[in-house]
Amino acid sequence: MRALTQALALIAVAIPLLAQGPPRGSRRPAPGPSAIERYNSMPPRQRERILEKLPADRRKAFEDRVERYNRLSPGEKRRLRGQYDQFQQLPPERRDEARRVFRRFMNLPEDRQRELRTEMETLRDLAPDERRQRVESPPFMEKFSPQERRMMRDLGRTLSPPADTGSQHEIL
C-alpha cells in the first residue's frame, strides 16, 4: 500500500511538470540574408512549388522583394547584412514593434511613402538643433499628419540601438 501511495505521489508531481512542455516563445532564429541566397539558388521548379502555395498578393509581394534585394550591388548587400545583424541584436519586442510601424508605413499611399522617406533623409542630414526647428515648423506640421509624424518618430526610435532609447529629444 505504501508503494502504491509513493507511486501515485510521484505521478502527481511529475505529470504537471512534464505537461508544461517546452518553454513558450522559443521561436526559431531568423535565417537572415543567407536564406534568400539559398532561395535564389533553388531550381526554378522547386521555387515554383513553394511559391504556388502562397496567395497571389503575398506571392507578388514576395517576388518583388526578392527582385529588389537581388538588384542591390554586392556592397549594398554587405552593408544591409551588417544592419540586419545589428537589428537582430535588438530585443524581440523592439523588432516586432519596428515591423508593425513599417507595415503601417507600407500601407500608406505611395506618394505619402515617398514624402516621408524624403523627409526622413532630410532630417537625418541635419544637426539636432536644425532638426528640431524643422519638425516644429508650421510647414512641417501642415505637410504631415499626426499619424505620419508619429510613424517617423517611431521608426527612428525602434530602429535605434538599445543605448539610444529613452531619448530626451522626441518632439514630434
Partner: protein, 165 residues
C-alpha cells in the same frame, strides 16, 4: 473563432490525404498543422510509415508459417498467450516483492509515456520536413524568408533614420 484540430476531432483522414498529396483541403490542413504539434507529429509518423512501406518489400512467408504461429499461440496446457501473460503479471503483483515493483513500474511507465508525448518532433523523426520541398518545412522557410526580406527592406529604407525627432 477557435481552430478545429484535425487529430482531436476525428480528422485523421484529412491528415493522411495531406501526406499522400491528394488532399482537397491542402491549404487548411497546412495552416492548422503549422501551428499544431500533435498534427505535425501525426503527419511525420504517417510519412515515415509510407516511406517505410515504399522502401521495404515484404519478406516471403514460409510455407508452414501459419501452422507454427498457431502452435505457439495455443501452447502447452491449452493456455493462450494472453492468459499466460495475465497469470504471470497477477502472480508477480500479488507476491510481497511484486507489489511495490508493479506500482513503481506503472508510475515510471506513465511518466515516460507523458514525457514522450510531450516531445516536439525532431528533424530525424520528421521526414515530411526533410523530404518534401512543398512541405511544412519549406513553407515555414518561406515565412522566414519573407520576414527577412521585410526586415531588409525596412532597414534599407530606415536603418539610418534619425534616432530622435
Amino acid at each position: 473563432m477557435e481552430e478545429v484540430c484535425y487529430l482531436r476531432n476525428g480528422g485523421e483522414g484529412a491528415l493522411v490525404d495531406f501526406v499522400s498529396g491528394h488532399s482537397g483541403q491542402y491549404a487548411e490542413v497546412h495552416a492548422h498543422a503549422a501551428a499544431c504539434a500533435d498534427c505535425q507529429r501525426f503527419i511525420a509518423e504517417q510519412a515515415a510509415l509510407w516511406a517505410a512501406l515504399d522502401a521495404d518489400s515484404a519478406p516471403e512467408v514460409a510455407a508452414d508459417f501459419d501452422r507454427r504461429l498457431y502452435a505457439q499461440l495455443e501452447s502447452v496446457d491449452g493456455e493462450n498467450w494472453w492468459q499466460r501473460t495475465w497469470r504471470q503479471m497477477a502472480g508477480s503483483a500479488m507476491s510481497g516483492f511484486g507489489r511495490p515493483v508493479a506500482a513503481l513500474s506503472l508510475a515510471v511507465a506513465l511518466i515516460i509515456g507523458v514525457a514522450i508525448m510531450r516531445q516536439p518532433p525532431t528533424p530525424a523523426s520528421a521526414p515530411v520536413a526533410a523530404d518534401r520541398p512543398a512541405s511544412l518545412q519549406a513553407v515555414n522557410d518561406i515565412d522566414q524568408i519573407e520576414e527577412t526580406l521585410e526586415d531588409l527592406e525596412m532597414l534599407s529604407l530606415f536603418a539610418n533614420a534619425p534616432r530622435s525627432l
